[in-house]
């Protein structure tokens, strides 16, 4: 392989394994994704632009990104809290709670969708208390935030937790011996160490939330201009066989996802570099 130079290794299978990896990646991931680009190239720039900036579409971006941002922000606060409590304190059932945090990764999103919808419906366990207060969750943006918070819940916890575990107690002891209060130790010493992990967790949660579909279908009600998220809009365009429009919006979303992925990669590299010693 001319471009892929590798150091001499006595282990066998380099060509075979790398060849298979690249082939499988190409066929399953890159080829289909390139279909998206090819299809977009069928459109003129004007067509593309008018499709991706139509009011209904723009409203869906705002909703998708806004609710995903809100959910990721909620998870930053509570994810940090959960990670802190799991690492620093002892209580009965901690291992059970720790295992439960991964539930949103394991539970199919459609199940989460119908469960949350039934809970927050005006007659549901939680909804019946909110309805008299005038708080509407189901078929409203708030419902989307609730569902997105659920599905992106583990990210911040799982990125912060290991960093918190590895944090040497010596730096905290040093700060205490220098007269810092507990709060000062948290804000001056612990939080700066956690920032890269928090940001990574935030970006992962956000990326996952922006693309989420399964749980939202049930709770949002899919009212155009009001509770229609971008993935749903693409889905309904497809159902109407408007492939070109679906593709154009898909390209915008994919572009946003790539940027996020790059940001996450960059942040992880930055964090690794900063934590080098």
């Amino acid at each position: 392989m001319p471009i892929l130079l590798h150091k001499r290794s006595i282990l066998p299978g380099f060509g075979l394994t790398l060849g298979f990896t690249v082939l499988y990646l190409g066929l399953l991931v890159l080829l289909p994704l390139s279909a998206l680009v090819i299809k977009t190239l069928d459109m003129t720039w004007a067509q593309f632009w008018s499709t991706v900036t139509a009011p209904q579409v723009v409203a869906s971006y705002k909703l998708s990104f806004g609710t995903a941002l809100a959910a990721a922000a909620i998870n930053v606060v509570f994810g940090l809290l959960v990670a802190w409590v799991l690492v620093r304190y002892h209580f009965y059932g901690k291992r059970f709670v720790d295992a439960m945090v991964d539930l949103p990764f394991a539970l199919p999103t459609a199940v989460a969708g119908i469960a949350l919808t039934s809970l927050y419906a005006p007659t549901g366990w939680i909804g019946q208390w909110l309805e008299p207060l005038g708080i509407r969750v189901v078929f409203a943006p708030l419902g989307i935030i609730v569902a997105l918070t659920f599905i992106s819940l583990p990210f911040v916890v799982r990125t912060v937790q290991p960093v918190l575990e590895d944090l040497g107690k010596e730096v905290e002891e040093a700060a205490a011996s220098l007269g810092a209060s507990r709060l000062q130790i948290f804000t001056h010493i612990i939080l700066p160490e956690l920032w890269p992990a928090i940001l990574t967790g935030f970006a992962l949660a956000f990326a996952r939330a922006v693309g989420e579909f399964g749980s939202i279908v049930f709770i949002s009600g899919n009212i155009p201009m009001k509770t229609e998220i971008t993935p749903l809009l693409i889905f309904s365009k497809l159902e109407q066989f408007r492939y070109a429009e679906a593709t154009a919006i898909g390209v915008v979303m994919l572009g946003a996802s790539f940027i996020l992925l790059l940001v996450i990669n960059f942040m992880q590299r930055w964090a690794n570099k900063r934590m080098a010693f």
Binding site: I3, L4, K7, S9, I10, L11, P12, F14, T17, L18, T21, Y24, L25, L28, L31, L36, I38, K39, L81, V85, L86, R88, Y89, F91, Y92, V97, M100, D102, L103, P104, F105, A106, L107, P108, A110, V111, I114, A115, L116, S118, L119, W125, I126, F150, E172, A176, R182, A207, G211, E212, F213, G214, P231, L232, I234, F235, L238, L254, S257, N265
Partner: protein, 314 residues
């Protein structure tokens, strides 16, 4: 959930090194409250709704051809994804961790790519590729093959979604294990397959199991991508999550939640197995650590044993 923050323990931390008791209680209560609201209550709700009309009605929900078909199709999809992505994960991890080559970080980023793609777009790209108006659409039609609104499309879309799971689990595990053992086996004359089966596989089996579990959990529950490519043909292209959607939209709530409870149970099994795997790996690590620290109960002390220069008894 009852909780006791370690306060009464004999080796309580001095005040400056932990928070006051009320802060600890408040934070713990807040965290547990948040988790209860978002994780525990929805979980309970699934089973509550499923059993709301009694156990008989619950069981009756499964006496349905379509439900059975959905379960069968889901199993096929899971099996296909787990096998293909498992093989891919192992080969990719082998190539990436046992050799150094240019473009490795690009390859790693590309493997992560499906994580960043919305499920709906994952479905969309296969429609664009194999749909009637798609790139290969005309060719497939001429040969009387059907990918979209058929099982192959569902399998492909699920494979795309679950593509990185096994590889992402294995790469760090194999990276940390290095290549020394394999190289030693090679020097002793073992061939590639033998090295893999006898040396590598036993070392990575827990990581592999974990990756396969994550992969199958995601495969069995995938909704968005499958929803786009399936066409929702009951009895033919409905997986369990899609079947739930149809039941739910037809206001057959008990049946919908009954099927949902099945998937929830599988999700819980996944969590249990995952915890077991983690517990196992932790135990191995702890054992290794305990050996290294055996004669040093004081962790903070220096690792160097002082030398006692002296002579034997004459």
């Amino acid at each position: 959930m009852r909780e006791t923050v370690t306060i009464a323990r004999p080796h309580a931390k001095p005040r400056a090194l932990t928070e006051p008791r009320w802060v600890r209680y408040t934070l713990t209560a807040l965290a547990l409250g948040f988790l209860a609201l978002f994780l525990l209550i929805p979980l309970v709700a699934v089973f509550w709704e499923a059993l709301s009309k009694g156990f008989g009605t619950y069981l009756a929900s499964f006496h349905d051809v379509y439900a059975w078909h959905a379960i069968k199709l889901t199993l096929i999809v899971v099996a296909a994804s787990v096998i293909c992505n498992g093989v891919f994960g192992i080969t990719a991890a082998w190539a990436i961790t046992k050799f150094s080559f240019r473009g490795k970080s690009l390859l790693l980023t590309l493997i992560d790519l499906p994580f960043a793609v919305s499920p709906v777009i994952a479905g969309l790209i296969f429609v664009l590729l194999f749909g009637l108006q798609g790139v290969f659409g005309p060719w497939l039609r001429d040969h009387d093959l059907k990918m979209i609104f058929a099982v192959p499309g569902i399998v492909l879309a699920t494979m795309f979604i679950t593509f990185p799971f096994v590889a992402r689990e294995l790469i760090p595990v194999m990276q940390s294990q290095g290549t020394e053992e394999e190289e030693a086996a090679r020097v002793l004359g073992a061939g590639g397959w033998r090295i893999f089966w006898r040396i590598t596989l036993p070392n990575i089996k827990w990581g592999l199991l974990y990756g396969l579990i994550l992969c199958s959990a995601r495969a069995m529950g995938e909704f968005g991508a499958v929803s786009v490519v399936s066409g929702h043909i009951s009895g033919r292209t409905n997986t369990l999550p899609l079947h739930i959607e149809i039941l739910y939209n037809e206001y057959q709530f008990v049946s919908a939640f009954a099927c949902a409870s099945l998937l929830t149970l599988l999700a819980l099994v996944t969590l249990v197995v995952k915890s077991l795997v983690e517990w196992h790996t932790h135990r191995i690590e702890a054992l290794a650590e305990a050996e290294a620290f055996e004669d040093r109960p004081e962790g903070a002390d220096s690792p160097h044993q002082p030398l006692h220069p002296h002579r034997d008894h004459p």
